[in-house]
Structure formats: structure tokens, C-alpha cells
Symmetry: C3
Subunit: 357 residues, 3 copies
């Protein structure tokens, strides 16, 4: 099977507040990791979750200061993965240790780099500033272990036509299906822009705007390879100038998605819905959270039922092809950018000596 | 693994009353299908249960008139499988569509043909007239997803010796084991005939007959390839002429089985037990249904515990052979007729040019 | 995958009291067996748990005297596996039968030999006399279907350093980790001997001894290939001569383990903790049983959580190596002795004729 996700990338592994001075297990890109926050400096460490000695998950052990103690025979590892204690022997095998993964905390999330540590540059952590809780506010959550290939989530978010069908009655609307859209891209990003002008607002947005009459609605969705999607969405009264850049009369939200491969067919989906309006209204924050995830009834719950069913269909029809529609243009660019990252990680082809000379 | 079921055959997929103007999913011979009854003419349609676009099961969508709407992006398909609507585009790819399966309704069942549509001839729908509710009456049911190869059910029904052991105390009887039997066959059918003359009737039949004394008991079991079994069974007072064709003093039932492969190791088993006696006695119909299926205590429940255990044993011993007894003669003919159908569907062997000349 | 367990060995299959005059299923070394105690002589029989005819597990049938009756078609097998009855036919195929496994009852356990019956010598049944209930007393139990390779249990028992970490607070103690130990071996056994002299007794042993002051503590663990471990353990007041052979002032226990492969990654673990002190104290027997197994809170429950997690880690990292510490010397000898048995069972390598001459 072809590789489905690049290893040399920053992936969200946890919300910052989830990682305390205790061991937390996560599987990221097929790799078991144990995360914890160091006492000494408050930074997060991420180690391979398998003892060097007999493979027991270190996450079943405990912390002794900032050292991880294996729960089986008591081997200890520091936050760089180096073994610092072995039971019943004075000398420690100098090569003993577990892998330490590059890790960084930014935009309220903990990011890990499962690939080659030498290539991990914090400057390439995705732009997720909408999640900072400063200019934009909102409270999201995580679907851990969503049972689909992370790319199906990206497909879903890069084309909002599905709102008309999956979310009929809340944010779905026939206008989405009929509005034209543009797709642009750079070497690492792809953007889908759709303006629906002079339309009846769908129920959700009518309520947020709180003004009668037609609106201009926008959906500007940006993908950052390999697994970040940010959607700049909102409505403003028709004629108030939003398409020309003046959104001052409207309401503006951003859906945020950091989708992290767990295995080939499961992923962790860190989400938020942030906004610039009524930022102090904590009840609104809670209501928006519930609108998205609500014990099976939120809009994301609806998406996930579809996504998991789609994955099961793919598993049952491994040779079936995807056919494409015009609406898939954004998702196809996202896939293309992922494929480029995968190609860059592929081993160099073997070139026989004679041929090379 | 060798193919286990022919594709070019009519298989029962549902009871007619189960299929209304709404989407119903069935897996038949490994193929996901979505069935529904058309508003326009009341006929049943059967489509591939995977959207042309992204494979989402169409059964998760809904009907719009007689068109199936995909629940993800709203593509529509008519009952011939042709795509009639794509979101956000005027032109429809003319090749877009899903497969439509030949389907027919007869003898109170819906039959589908999973193989080559060009070969589907309604004249070859199995004879299952006992199920019509006219001359014979009875209320059966379906075991959906029985966890065994459909051929194990055929083996079970083609040899009723097992009644002595699996159904001791109801229809089982030492007489079955000791009575001789004949096996005959045609190109597509096999029949096992067993007469037990001048015997004590087993409890079930004594009760149905309602007369004291010895009986002649018959079991005439007919197989129609690849997956229909009908058993003509009954008793009549000894000496009343049943073996010579006069059953007028006796009671006559027919067990009906349409066994449909779901996967290689699961099947749907549509059954009925019809009779020509006390046809207006609805309580008797209910009692007979309960005698067969009763929350684990009916005779078919007993069979199924054995069949599923047998399948698990086969799975655990994939190279074990079946050894045969005399009693297996009927089942072996049934298997031989299935094998002929399979051979007829096998790709032609490759014959090298030189060898052929 | 390399074979993980020798077939030519005696393995514990059940406690003697578990096998009555009724059918009991066990899977031993990947082989389904049905065990029962014969009426005629009280001896235990072990047959292949699959009918010769159609593979139905014989354990789903019943006994008729000392014959096993198949629950499907009534074939009968005697305790040597020979078919003695076939339904509806006078003549029995003389080759019809199921495999009978050599079986013996000793030390309160039933032992079976899954390999070549010609090699099964009762003289080679492991020495497990501590379990007889005579000189030593104790009541143990069985973990059926423990989800790990049986060798992980052996590793666990051959190195008690893990007590310090897994069983901190009961029998674990820093003294174990720091005490030196010796490893000796013969062709079929390996022994680890550790003496901790002049130490504070850990809570469990302090209570058993019931005397104040420092103790000498011993752990002498013996492995009999392929799957028996017996640990001679105890404490005596320091200076009372235990290291020189006089244990009369101390308390002595023995943990007993017969670990039987069920499949490559599951095992049955028959255990006991026997003692020579307070032998008539039945409450103590019950308390010791509870100390070991207590709904997840006993010391063996703690071990098993670790062992099953270790197996999952191995399954998830099939190519990962085990690295070894000094403390693994005993376990490594045990593995080496198992490997020798496996090598002896391997088919002879093919030697081309020319090369051999």
C-alpha cells in the first residue's frame, strides 16, 4: 500500500491543557508516543512509547521528576530518551535509549514531528493563530481516533457543497450548490473562495447576524499541506461592501481543523470554531461548541457518520476509483500537495552504476 | 480461494413486504445493493450501494420521487443507475452511474441477479410456489447474516438424519436414521426421497395428524441449483395409501429454503413452513413459526448453532477435508450441481497457440 | 513465523477436578481438544475436537457411556478416537476416527501431549510435586486464555526484579534490585538463585514470619523446559542459618507455574502458591489466593496487565528486538532451552545428494 501521510511534518498531538506533569499516550502517524510536561521548564516532551528493554509502553509507567520510569523493570529515561537507570547493574549500556520526537507548543496545541528530527524546524509549524484565544475566540475539541483516513476529512472541508445535503436545515443551503467558486494554490497551500451574494441567510447565520434581509455570504477555505484546513466564513448585509473587503457590518467565523493521521485509516481531528463577534459571550461559545458536537446531533457529528461510512466503503472496495466533480477542485489540489510531500520522502530510485555513469 | 457461489443466478434478497418506498441495504454475493420500491409503478429497483463519486453507500441517502439522492453531495441516480444530477454543474458526465441489478418479485420474495445482466431471464426464477400463500399457507421469516457458507445450510437440509440428533424430542426420531432413501437428479435439481412406513409418529407429527396409531412418514427433499431447497414432508395413517400416492388421510407440509450467499462465510436464509391442512388456522401458523424460530429454542435455532459452529471449525482448520457418509448422497449431488455452475462461469483456460494447433 | 512452542512435551490442560464425566473443550498448542473422564476407569481421555465427518466440534455433542456422540449426525467415537457408529449405515469406514492425544493425570493436573504420540513418555511429566497437597499446601487457579505468548510469562517469572516495580508495596523491594544472583543450568533446566541477607523484610513476608527484625530472604527459581517454573521463596531471621541450609526458623513458600501455549499469542497459566508453614490454616490459604488473584488487584493481576500490554506492543512492532539486561540471564537460558527443543523438532534440512556425498 502506498504511504498515506508524510512523516516530515508538524502534526497536532494534543491540546496544551491536556498535557500535564503525567504520562499521556498518543499514536501519531502509526507511532506510539508518550507525552508529558517537564517540571523543570514546563516544556512538553515526546518519547517513543516502548521501553528499550522489552517494549512495554512507557505510558504504563510513571514519572520520577522529569524521568520516565518503566512500569515493568524500572528502567529510566530522560526527556531526550536517554536511558539513565537500569536495575541491578552499575553500568548503563551507552546506546540504550528510546526515540525522542521534536515537539513544540503553539496556538494552544502541542505539535510533534514524527519524521527525521534533523528536518524539524519550528518555523514551519502551521499558521493556526485563529486558535490563540486573542483576536479570535472559541472553544473546540478533538475527535480522537476518528475511523477514517485523514484525507477524507480534508476532502470534506475543502468542498462545502456537502453542507447542502449533510447539514440541510442548519448551515446547508441550495445557494452553496449554485454559487461559483475559485481555486488558487501555492507550493504548500490551496484556497477555495466562494461568494454567495444577495441570498436568504441560512438559519444559523441569520441568527448570528441578528438583522433582517438578504446577505452576502462567504466561504474562503485554505489548506496548508499536509493536514491543516482553516475556513474563513461569514455573512454581511447585502450591499454593505463585504465582497469588496468591508466586513464591518457582518459576522465572521473561522472553522479550524488540524487533522492528524493516527493510522492509515484513523485520525485525530482537532477542531475549533472561532469568531470575532460577541467575543465575551461565553454562552455563545458554549452554544457554538454544542452546534458542532452534541452527542451525535452536531454538524460535525453528521459529517463523521458520513466519513466513517465512506471509509468502510473504501475498505470494502479497495480497487474502486474516486470519480471527480467540479466541486472537487479544492480537494484535488490538497491531495496533489500531499502527494508532492510524499514523493519528496520516497527513497531515491536505485540507479545502477553503469547507467549512472 | 475458489469461488463459492455462481453469480449468474437469481437469489432471494428480501421479502416483498420488506421493500417499501424507502432505501433498504442488502449485501448479496459480496455486492452491496440498495433496494427500493418505485412510486411510479410499484416495481422494485436494485442499485449498487456506492455512489459513483466518492463511494458513500447510497442507502445512507434518501429518495426524491424514484431517484436516489446521495447523502453526501446530493448526486442523483434513477432506478436504472444513471446519474441525473450533479451538484454545482450543469453538464453531467454521460458515463456517470451506478450498476443496476436485474430484479424481480415472485412468490412473495424479491429476487436479484448479481451476475451478467444480459443472462438474467425471469423464466429461470426458482419454483417457490409453495410460498405464494394460495394453495399452501404459512408464515416464515429470514435469518439475515447467518454466519456460515450458504452450502452448509444446503448440506443440512439435504440430509435429515441430523434431525435425530439435533432435534431429538421434537421432529427427530431413530426411524429416520434407519430408513432407506433414494437420490435422483437432473441437470439442475437433486431429490432425496425417504419413506418410513408403519412407524410411531414423532411428537410434532402425531400432534398435527391428530389420529392414533402408526403412520407412514415421508421426506421428499428437492434442491434447485444453486440455492433453493424444498422439503415435501408429512405423515398419513399406515395403510391409507400414502406411499402409493393417496395422501388424503394425512397431513402435508413443505419446508422452504432460499439461501442467499451474503459473503463467502455468511448467508441470508429465507424460510417458510407451509402446509395444506388447517389452512385457516392462524394460531397454527403462529405456532409453527414459533416451533421453528423461537429466540434460540426453535428447531432452526438449533440448526444454526450447529451451522455456525461448523463454519468456525472450518475457518480454524482451512485444510481439513470433509469425509462423507452414505447419508451425504443428496448433499453431494447438490454440491456437484453448484460446482458445474461455477465451472461454467470460470474464465476459459488459456491454451498456448502451439499446443492448440 | 517461527514456531513458538515445541509439540513434543507434556502441557497442563486442566485441573483434575475440572474434568468430570462430561465434555470439556480446551485449545492446547493450537489444537482443539475435547477432554472427559471415563466412567469405566476414571481416567481422562483427550480427543481432537472436530468430527471426522463434517468438523463439528465434538465438545458440542454428548457422552453415551464412554463414547463421544457428535451433536450433528450422531457419529460415535471411543476414547481412543476410533469411530464406532455411523448413522444409517451398517458398515463403518475402518479408517474413520479422530486423533487421540496422550494424556496423564499427576500432581492434581491433567497433562496432554500434543505432539507425536510415540514419543510421549509419562516419566517426562514435569516435577510439580509442590502441587500435590501433601507436604506443601495451597490453592491456586488458572488464567485461561491469557493474551500473551507463554514465553512472556516465563520471562516474567525468571526475573523477579520486576517485583520492585510491578508489585511495589507488597512483595516488591529495592533489595531485590540490588542483590546479586547466580544462574545455573542443565540440559533441560535453568535456575536463578538470589539471596538478600540482613534486610528489612517486605510487608508480605514480615507478616508471614511474624517475628521482628532483619531477615535473610531467598528466591530460587527453577525452570523446566519448555514451560514450568517453580520458585522456592521465603525468609528466615538473619543469623538463623538459612543461607547455610537451616530454614527451620523461617517461612517457606513456592510459587508454581505451568504455562501452556493456547495459540501463538495466548496461553493458559496454571498457578499455585504452596507453603510448608501453617498448613492447616485454610483461611491463610484463601488469603494467599486472594493476594495473588483478586479481581484485578492481586499481584498476578498486576503482572498480567503488564504481560498483555507487552504482547500488544510486540504485535504492533513485529520487527522490534528485545534488548537484554544482566537481570535477563535466567530468562535467556530458559529461552535457549526452548529453542533447543524447537530445533530438535525442525524438519531435517534438505541436503542435495551431490553435496552429501
Amino acid at each position: 500500500m502506498d504511504k498515506r501521510y508524510p512523516m516530515n511534518a508538524w502534526y497536532a498531538a494534543a491540546w496544551g491543557h491536556e498535557i500535564r506533569h503525567e504520562l499521556a499516550a498518543r499514536k501519531i502517524c502509526g507511532k506510539g508516543m508518550v507525552l508529558y510536561r517537564r517540571e523543570a521548564d514546563g516544556a512538553v516532551a515526546a518519547l517513543e512509547d516502548a521501553c528499550w528493554h522489552r517494549l512495554l509502553p512507557l505510558s504504563l509507567g510513571w514519572l520520577k521528576g522529569d524521568q520516565v520510569v518503566c512500569g515493568y523493570h524500572g528502567l529510566q529515561f530522560n526527556s531526550a530518551g536517554r536511558c539513565t537507570y537500569m536495575p541491578a547493574q552499575e553500568t548503563i549500556n551507552p546506546s540504550a535509549g528510546v526515540r525522542a520526537f521534536p515537539v513544540a507548543e503553539r496556538h494552544r496545541l502541542v505539535w510533534v514531528w514524527p519524521g527525521d528530527p534533523a528536518l524539524a524546524d519550528p518555523a514551519t509549524i502551521p499558521d493556526f493563530h485563529w486558535n490563540d484565544g486573542t483576536e479570535w475566540v472559541g472553544e473546540g475539541g478533538t475527535f480522537y481516533g476518528l475511523k477514517c483516513d485523514y484525507r477524507l476529512v480534508i476532502d470534506n472541508l475543502m468542498d462545502l457543497t456537502h453542507e447542502t445535503y449533510v447539514h440541510a436545515g442548519s448551515i446547508g443551503d441550495e445557494a452553496i450548490t449554485s454559487a461559483p467558486f475559485d481555486v488558487t494554490h501555492s507550493g504548500t497551500t490551496a484556497t477555495v473562495t466562494r461568494w454567495m451574494t444577495d441570498i436568504e441567510p441560512p438559519p444559523f447565520w441569520a441568527k448570528q447576524l441578528g438583522k433582517p434581509g438578504h446577505v452576502d455570504r462567504w466561504q474562503i477555505i485554505s489548506f496548508q499541506a499536509p493536514s491543516i484546513v482553516v475556513g474563513d466564513v461569514g455573512v454581511a448585509p447585502s450591499g454593505s461592501g463585504a465582497p469588496d473587503g468591508d466586513r464591518s457590518q457582518g459576522v465572521n467565523g473561522a472553522f479550524l481543523a488540524a487533522i492528524t493521521p493516527e493510522t492509515d485509516t484513523t485520525c485525530h481531528y482537532f477542531w475549533n470554531f472561532a469568531r470575532t463577534f460577541r467575543r465575551d459571550d461565553e454562552q455563545l461559545s458554549r452554544d457554538l461548541q454544542t452546534a458542532h458536537v452534541n452527542d451525535g446531533h452536531g454538524v460535525y457529528d453528521q459529517d463523521h457518520a458520513v466519513l466513517e461510512a465512506q471509509q468502510r466503503a473504501i475498505d470494502a472496495n479497495p480497487r474502486a476509483l474516486f470519480y471527480n466533480l467540479n466541486i472537487d477542485a479544492g480537494a484535488l489540489w490538497a491531495r496533489r500537495l500531499i502527494d508532492r510531500m510524499l514523493a519528496a520522502e520516497a527513497p531515491a530510485p536505485f540507479i545502477p552504476r553503469e547507467a549512472a555513469e
